[in-house]
Symmetry: C2
Subunit: 195 residues, 2 copies
């Protein structure tokens, strides 16, 4: 239904919800009964609860980005990502971003900027992706990543990163978003003569 400019878009109401699967801490699946603004009631509207995560676009003083090659079981292939990971319970997103950058790459950053936070699935929910730009990097330690993953670090120029984004090397939506946001910030800075 098209709403005219003068009227407001109305929200849905959740009348009840039933937990179908509790796989805490990774996910919980719910079936909700929702009432639409026009009064219709929809049963079995599926929603997901998942932990929030961070993705870090870490830009060196030489305008290189810290990329991570890894196998991810979602896309089921080796692909190019960025430092990223779930928030720990009660951890805030900035602290998680700083922790993941240090764990996965060994770098700390003096400049942090939140570029946005977005719900992963517009219909089902899931967690939020918190996208950070990190600058003024210093190599502080040996990387010590999540023990499930084999990773390969790669310092990537902005031109190469744009090519990876276009050629399919980047496989996941979270990494793609953070890369596009990071390239945008750089492009805007270039257009404004700041770089």
């Amino acid at each position: 239904m098209i709403v005219t400019k003068d009227s407001e878009i109305r929200v849905w109401e959740t009348l009840r919800r039933r937990q179908l699967i509790d796989a805490t801490p990774w996910l919980r699946l719910w079936s909700e009964t929702v009432r639409l603004p026009d009064g219709r009631v929809i049963g079995d509207y599926y929603t997901l609860e998942q932990p929030d995560f961070v993705v870090v676009f870490a830009l060196t003083d030489e305008n290189e980005v810290i990329g991570i090659w890894h196998y991810k079981h979602g896309p089921r292939r080796v692909n190019l990502g960025l430092p990223a990971g779930y928030l720990e319970p009660s951890e805030d997103s900035l602290a998680a971003a700083q922790r993941e950058l240090l764990e996965e790459t060994g770098y700390q950053a003096d400049s942090w900027q939140l570029l946005g936070r977005f719900t992963v699935d517009g219909n089902r929910g899931g967690g939020q992706a918190h996208i950070y730009l990190a600058r003024q990097l210093r190599a502080m330690a040996e990387p010590n990543p999540d023990d499930l993953e084999e990773i390969k670090l790669d310092l990537i120029t902005l031109t190469e990163l744009q090519q990876h984004l276009e050629n399919g090397s980047v496989a996941t939506l979270g990494a793609a978003t953070a890369i596009a946001f990071g390239l945008n910030v750089v492009a805007q800075s270039t257009l404004e003569g700041k770089l």
Copy 2:
């Protein structure tokens, strides 16, 4: 584990999988038993199957983008998205993008470019988001959107769109990705003197 530049990153092997929930066509939840490259076996690795979807960055000849204000139950608020929707069974992504643009906005486009396709959840899977740039738009019909949603169409300048992306009006990862990709294409074209 850090892999040196000379060695290859190895993939995981799914030994078996068990369906936990079949909520076709919206989602199926699986529990997989996976073997990591180092030989460890992980039980209960959760994966999701969901339909692919398209998101369309539709740019008019006046450099305005067709935005859609709508309530989405994932983020549970009214927010700014783009024309988008699930692929129908056996539909290809370009056909879906063209159908969704026409249904939701009434526009057809003579120029279509795939900007990328990305798996929604790097760990769990889910569907792929197919991001399209549509140009050379023509208003062809009255909008006739999905009957669950109230929507409000909005022609948005690139400057305003950048502000919406930064101020929280955009709530979902798919829309944020498509907007960032679209703004990137425009910025690159501007830097190269094409606009």
